[in-house]
Amino acid sequence: MNHVEDRRGANKLDGLDRAAGSLNGQPKHLTVWAESPAVESREPGWLKEVREQAGAALKVHGLPTRKSERWRLTPLKDLFAEPIQEAQVASEVAVASSVPSEQSSWLHTVDGIPTTASVLLPGVRVLKLSEALQEDRLPPSSSFGFGTGDVLSSCFSHAARREHFAALNSARFVDAWVVLVEERAVLEKPLFVQHQIVSSRPTLAYPRLLVVAGASSQFSLVETLVQETSDASGLDSIANSVSEVFLGPGAHMTHISIKAPASQTDASNDDRVRVLSHISVRQERDSKYQNTALALGGRLNRLDLDVVLAGKGAECVLKGTMHAADGDHVACYCEVDHAASDCTSREEYRSVVDGNGHVVFNGTARVHRDAQRTEAHQDNRNLLRSDRAVVHTKPHLEIDADDVRCSHGATVGSMDDEQLFYLRSRGLPDDQARALLTQAFVHEQVEHIPFEDVRLWVADRMQKSMGLMTMTFEETS
């Protein structure tokens, strides 16, 4: 096991893979991209530095290989089998809105590039990074509770991973959405960030989001990457996204992320968008972060979720639901860093696996020496609906403090025959009985979502993915 390479250090390269020396064995255009971070002349010095350091990290480490413990289960072999281009300009395509509510505030990215936004909520500013850089009157980072200086240079790329695909995003992203939530603002409606891959040619997209929330603010944000399969968009493309979240003291955020790159049933799952998404969160004291991640299908659909509990009394609840159908690989690597005392973390992940689908759960809670009175719990449950389904699960605790309450556990099982027979003996056909038991298995994962329209919409996406279309969640217990 090699955990060192997974750690993020301040502006530091581990150098473990230095022997590799270059992007040997990686596609040539990646080498070129790594060596030429997408620095623009009008970008400020700090941003140039971000890009150059990311490029340097790529040069040293390259993209991951399956020799790395953290990546050994991820099917990377065919990732760049086809020639691929980077998205440079957002396509002029009308994007079908998939958000559930008309009145919602929304932000779009198309092929990873920010396009339009409509945010009418008081207490929040939404702007593109390129615009924000031109702004003179952005609030200072101190007003959000993060250091001194301006908020962008203090936060941008300070939470994100510094290696591999996250570094590629940092080196090459075109533009980013910046969401600034004011101190004590309470947003009454959720913000929707909709990512869509519309290019008809194989495209490498770099969606990028920065969220900074001031002290005692409260809000919900829903990030979606939902590919409808009615057209040919997104074939053989890769969405390599980075979202960074900074929560000031006492801020509360509900963050829902849905990645459904091959939604609906689709015969040619093979060439659907592959998703490598990174969410990195830094929490100050007494803040609360609730993440609900749904990774529904896809030949490669991986989430790397990292949370640093930096301030005393911070709390995070990470709930994930994964579904892998035949031919799918769905993975979640989540890591919680208890860097301060009196923090609580809960990781609750469930997966449903069909056909020869493959799900990976890798959860780490790391408790630093000074993080006394820590509570950290991990729970991973997997339901295999086929004999060929595969699950790799690794809940993992690293504890250096002595006053902690920690637990971890994982279960992998198939449908319960006794439950199935009970339902069928009452007249439910086998497929309905199985759907009902699957629903019972996953419904807790979304029932806490605060807005009813969002909750129903999320449940609907989940039901469609898992073939539970006949049921509504409101009728379950």
Binding site: Y422, L423, R424, G427, L428, P429, Q432, L436, T476, S477
Partner: protein, 249 residues
Amino acid sequence: MLEIKNLHVSVGGKAILKGVSLSIGLGEVHAIMGPNGSGKSTLSYVLAGKEGYEVTGGSVRFCDEDLLEKSAESRAASGVFLSFQYPVAIPGVSNIYFLKAALNAQRVARGESELDAVGFMKLAREKAKLVEMSDTLMKRAVNDGFSGGEKKRNEIFQMALLEPKLAILDETDSGLDIDALKTVSQGVNALRNDERSILLITHYQRLLDHVVPDFVHVLHDGRIIKSGDKSLAQQLERDGYAQLTAAAG
């Protein structure tokens, strides 16, 4: 209505039922009594269609159809109901949602129209009175955290809702205190009519004091060794199984 002929059943290669024959007419209540391990529960599971039971001989006809070739769900739709000895808990699925889905699945299978939510709730509340099921109990997750008595009441509530032609009550009296036994028995009696047959499977006679059978059969080592009227149950209670089973060898 139910015609069991020379039924042989094995579980995991071991013969459990060794030639059971039983005929139940419309509206009749039959009791099968027997010591532990005599094959009572196997008989109930085989009739309800549970997998893992191998029928090695004989036949079962229900309403002039071959019951054994049907799936568990189509047996339910054709009117067979099993009240479980150990009702299964299903966390995350509300009782009422499950029953609506089940009833409608049966109705669809029979070519009838589905009940809507309002119609179903009206029916459910009416049936709930039979066994004093509270609204809370109806809406809780199926048997999840239910007491023994609540589980058995829930079984009879389901029977009332699904209105089977043949109800098999497997050890419905087990785990019940005297008050719960009365409630459950009253429910069963209320559901007794000329169109509905009932097969009571029990170890003890006490249920039969409340739900009085027309016929009593004694099952021993996979065979029915004696049949009679309700007085047979009283005889068994008095003398125990030993005398009969010894005679049967």
